[in-house]
Symmetry: none
Subunit: 225 residues, 2 copies
């Protein structure tokens, strides 16, 4: 989880307690640092102090929301702040908790959201795990070995279709109709461009390859489960 708190003595207390509770915690001393961290890593939940130097909690939340609708965001606020102001500014935050708070209380609130998002995830997410290849269609992320690629929607659509029909010959027409909705010359060429892109990703895992069946289509060869 991502923790942004400028009061470092408080920050460390929270961090240590959360680590004891089994979380992985990244502590950032200001808003910009939090944004930078969020860009690099994936976090399951974010805890943001509102009043911070260098981008406040609201700004950070907004930035995070641009990247992910799913991650739960909790604000840490001073008691002095009026409740309606916080609500008004709840720019994408899921809840807030006023200082001082007990670690117990924090943990409980976090659990609520983690349960909820885990559930949503499991209901909505579409994932494929094929050998070293880990593809989350919902997140548009493809992890192969140690490399991670952020896919575009089309790339993901195509890859999803390939995953759903791996190890059998797929006619070009079939792929086009299912991924693009229609089959004409130009879309066919467009598909070839996407095929090229996917093949670049697949280079990271020699067990996976997208074979051309000339005059017919493709076959997505993957290690059988």
């Amino acid at each position: 989880m991502l923790l942004a708190e400028d009061d470092l003595s408080l920050g460390y207390v929270i961090k240590d307690n959360l680590i004891d509770a089994g979380y992985e915690v990244v502590l950032c001393p200001d808003g910009q640092a939090a944004i930078d961290k969020f860009d690099k890593d994936e976090f399951g939940i974010c805890l943001l102090d509102i009043m911070m130097p260098n981008k406040d909690g609201f700004a950070v939340a907004k930035k995070i929301r641009q990247q992910s609708d799913m991650v739960p965001i909790l604000f840490l606020t001073a008691r002095s702040m009026e409740e309606d102001k916080i609500k008004g500014f709840q720019s994408g935050a899921d809840d807030y908790i006023t200082k001082p708070f007990s670690i117990q209380e924090l943990l409980m609130r976090m659990e609520v959201f983690l349960r909820r998002t885990r559930k949503m995830h499991s209901e909505r997410s579409v994932n494929f795990i094929i050998g070293k290849l880990n593809f989350s269609y919902t997140d548009l992320k493809l992890i192969i070995g140690k490399e991670m690629f952020n896919l575009t929607q089309k790339e993901a659509d195509l890859l999803k279709f390939l995953c759903e029909h791996s190890n059998r010959i797929l006619k070009r027409e079939e792929v086009l109709l299912n991924v693009w909705g229609k089959d004409d010359y130009f879309l066919g060429r467009s598909m070839d461009v996407f095929i090229t892109k996917l093949r670049k990703y697949f280079k990271a895992d020699p067990e996976v390859n997208l074979e051309t069946i000339h005059g017919v289509g493709f076959r997505f060869n993957t290690p059988q489960g």
Copy 2:
């Protein structure tokens, strides 16, 4: 087959009976375990209890459906559950069976689906197994003894036609009309080229040969099955 049942004493009874009936059974005590198992292995059919801790049967079915449209899913339900509720929630399930049920009944219901999917499978793929010769039309692969050849679509079309009419005389005209769509001098010569190619493949199996009936056509001689 994948069996998810939280009542373990019942689970073991079902499992043992199905094993006696010749099935391989993996028993999971809760929904999440079932999902995890399904990700790892391939199952021919899934039997899911609806009420389970840690993801109920509906959730498991949904998850399974994301990965495969084909696998038959059967729900096990308590008698108390209203039928329409089950039907409404039939999130991708193929059938349900109310507890208590006889193993006989369960086996019969399972057979129905397994027959169906086996049939669908065989419709999806076209294969010919003739002596040592194993030809998958859908995969464009011809395996003879230890050699494997990747065929082109035309080669496969021609071979398929020959397999479908083996051990009888085929007029040249007949083959041309069925495989090329029309019959003229040049296509006839073209066919001869393909015949040559196929004969090269057949060299790997002396039991199979493509005989010329001079002035008439061919006969694809194969060991009778």
